[in-house]
């Protein structure tokens, strides 16, 4: 081997040795940074990997915006210190990998000694960190988790709260709506993920109770590229409604391919992603998605104080609208956090947890109250795109518009 290569080798060896030595030192110095000067809030969330699209849409902008708003006021109000303390947000990338999420959660708690933690994206990720945040006593409200399994373990994880609509109520709302519209035969497809399995598991029995026939019932992998065979089969089956418990990637795919194939059931319902602002434009404009229904129901016109202003602030800050489902829930969870800290007067995590568990909080999604660890203010909510706005069509009492039925043909 020539000398140049050996020199390279030597350089590599030296660089690695130096990094190996400096690493423990830098890590050590991190934990020594003064604690009372800032409130450190950590989050390990998906900046890369399949979950990053959802995280980047729904949670990350809200986290950052909230921190900015709080710091613009001087920080969070800590009554015990009689002053406001600024907030620092530490963001790690969990790579959409559960093992990494757990490890980073522990790192934020044990090494970074964060004061508070904000949750990652997606049902599976919330499952992963629930034991961790509970073990070390960090109260967390999950805005992108929806699973009945959590209800079962809720007693074991008192520090964990679910704020998003739960499958049981969503399923019931959807089934009620379909019954009201007179739907008789449906195709039910779902993404092969905890979320898809759970929601389908709840909706299917409800449909059965209402004597609605599920003629097609299939799952598909999360990274599916082409669902046209399945959609063609569904078209041939001539169902009244196509219900898809889908994640953003497949939501977009199904919409696109359904249009291409001329699949036009009377009701088209999709999962996560319908409420995203890009959904309005990506198929050629709002008129194309007229009548499509999706999970969630919130728009800037809902009658909750601060909703419209939040919407406008988000647009101003990020040049894009918040999504019309979990974004609002995320922001609401941050409002609750802020209000709890003010009520408690300090960063006492146990007291904050107890406050969240017992009080009612005014937020952009309405007055939120947790019972048994779950938000009872927002039972099933379904939205439908009508003339460029995502109107609330279920539950019936919360409607901002009547549902359009049947869905108009693809333009």
């Amino acid at each position: 081997m020539n000398h140049r290569a050996k020199f390279f080798q030597l350089a590599v060896y030296i660089i690695l040795s130096i990094s190996l030595i400096t690493f423990p030192l830098t890590a050590y110095s991190q934990t020594k940074s003064a604690k009372t000067e800032k409130i450190r809030i950590g989050t390990a969330i998906s900046l890369s990997g399949p979950y990053s699209a959802g995280a980047g849409m729904t949670q990350i902008p809200n986290y950052n915006m909230w921190v900015e708003e709080v710091n613009a006021k001087g920080g969070l109000l800590i009554k015990k210190l009689n002053k406001r303390v600024p907030v620092e947000l530490i963001t790690y990338d969990d790579k959409s990998d559960i093992g990494t999420a757990v490890k980073l959660g522990e790192k934020l708690i044990l090494e970074e000694k964060g004061d508070l933690l904000l949750p990652p994206w997606g049902t599976a990720m919330h499952f992963a960190i629930a034991p961790v945040i509970n073990k070390y006593g960090y109260p967390v409200m999950g805005p992108t988790v929806s699973s009945e399994n959590l209800r079962e373990i809720a007693l074991k994880v008192p520090y964990f709260f679910g704020i998003l609509n739960m499958p049981r109520e969503q399923g019931a709302a959807l089934a009620d709506l379909l019954e009201e519209l007179g739907v008789k035969r449906v195709a039910l497809i779902y993404v092969a993920d905890a979320y898809g399995i759970e929601w389908t598991g709840k909706v299917a029995p409800d449909l059965g109770i209402k004597k609605i026939d599920v003629v097609i019932f299939k799952s598909y992998p999360g990274d599916v590229k082409d669902l046209s065979p399945l959609l063609k089969t569904i078209k041939a089956a001539d169902v009244d409604a196509l219900l898809c418990m889908s994640y953003p990637g497949d939501t977009f795919l199904i919409t696109k391919q359904a249009k291409e194939l001329g699949l036009n059931p009377k009701v088209l319902y999709l999962g996560v992603g319908v409420a995203f602002p890009v959904y309005k434009q990506m198929f050629g404009g709002p008129n194309v998605i007229e009548g499509i229904m999706g999970a969630g129901a919130w728009n800037p016109r809902v009658a909750y104080p601060g909703a419209k202003e939040y919407f406008e602030r988000h647009v101003k800050r990020w040049k894009t609208e918040p999504d019309r489902w979990a974004s609002a829930f995320t922001y609401a969870s941050l409002q609750i956090l802020e209000q709890s800290i003010e009520k408690v007067g300090s960063i006492d995590r146990k007291k904050i947890r107890d406050t969240i568990a017992t009080q009612t909080f005014p937020t952009v999604i309405g007055p939120v109250r947790f019972e048994g660890g779950f938000n009872v203010q927002s039972p099933g909510e379904i939205g439908q795109w009508q003339k460029g706005e995502f109107e609330v069509v279920a539950a019936k009492e919360k409607r901002t518009a009547k549902p359009i039925f049947p869905k108009p043909s693809w333009p």
Binding site: D226, K232, T233, G249, E260, L261
Partner: protein, 290 residues
């Protein structure tokens, strides 16, 4: 089973198969000739897809036309990578096995690098555009126009490449190198250039496939690896080192995948792996292998 459904499955399968065939030929060039099992092959597909996407969104350039620009670019990138990375590695490796192992690892490194760079440039969100998405009726079934175009394009490229291999001097040189590198060298082939050329052509195939993909599907920086796996399976199916065999391998995989998809969407990948493993156990040299 109605004739329409059968036709539907067949044509749909061939559409994906055409894409797979392109990708498989690309990998086959890289492995069969340059002996690099390039696990970052899919990343070039991804790059081609994003390049086309960016040109369309930013400048409104027709995706098919933009191939004139993106194609040569990706080819050059592939060529340079071979020249700088793999050629050097070849020089340092005492045996062919050593080189294959080392290039496998180096291409893993490339995979990480390219994916991260793409993530930094374009971000992790799903991106897509609409092009020729009108539905057309073909032999009684409905397809998106862009799929038919992609299939035609793949066939065109395939035919051009076939003639290139069989009729041109460079094509002969490539085939000679695929059979036996040392002999080819003895016969006067500028082997370093040919190896680099093959690697570049492999990247080019991937890039073209990527462009076609971006017309039909939404894209993210993560779409590469599944295609790489499919191309490896197709190459093994056709016989390692048999360039045209891998083309057939790709078509077969596309067909099988589509058939399985009608049964259950989640089973296609499992079906591919089962075929792959059985093939390795029964006839590792592939259907057309020597």
């Amino acid at each position: 089973m109605s004739l329409t459904l059968l036709l539907d499955i067949l044509i749909g399968g061939l559409m994906m198969g055409g894409l797979y065939a392109l990708i498989a030929v690309g990998l086959s060039l890289q492995y069969g000739v340059a002996r690099v099992l390039n696990v970052s092959h899919g990343e070039f597909i991804m790059l081609g897809a994003f390049a086309t996407y960016s040109l369309y969104i930013l400048f409104g350039i027709n995706p098919l036309l933009s191939l004139v620009v993106t194609g040569p670019l990706i080819f050059i990138v592939g060529f340079l990578i071979h020249r700088t990375l793999f050629k050097r590695l070849k020089r340092l490796s005492p045996t062919m096995d050593a080189f294959e192992g080392g290039s496998l690892l180096a291409s893993f490194g490339l995979l990480f690098i390219i994916q991260n760079v793409a993530l930094l440039i374009w971000g992790p969100d799903v991106k897509g555009y609409s092009y020729l998405s009108k539905t057309v009726s073909f032999l009684g079934a409905l397809y998106a126009a862009n799929r038919l175009v992609a299939l035609l394009f793949a066939i065109l490229i395939g035919i051009i490449f076939y003639y290139f291999l069989k009729r041109t001097r460079m094509g002969k040189a490539i085939r000679a190198a695929a059979q036996d590198v040392t002999t080819a060298q003895l016969m006067g082939v500028n082997i370093n250039f040919v190896l680099g050329l093959c690697f570049g052509l492999g990247a080019l195939m991937a890039g073209i496939a990527g462009s076609l993909t971006s017309m039909m599907f939404e894209i993210t920086p993560l779409i590469g690896l599944p295609y790489t796996i499919i191309s490896i399976i197709a190459v093994v199916l056709g016989g390692l080192g048999n360039i045209l065999g891998s083309l057939i391998g790709g078509l077969i995989l596309g067909l099988i995948g589509n058939i399985v998809m009608y049964i259950h969407p989640g089973l296609s990948l499992i079906a591919y792996y089962i075929i792959f493993l059985l093939l390795l156990l029964i006839k590792p040299t592939g259907i057309f292998g020597k």
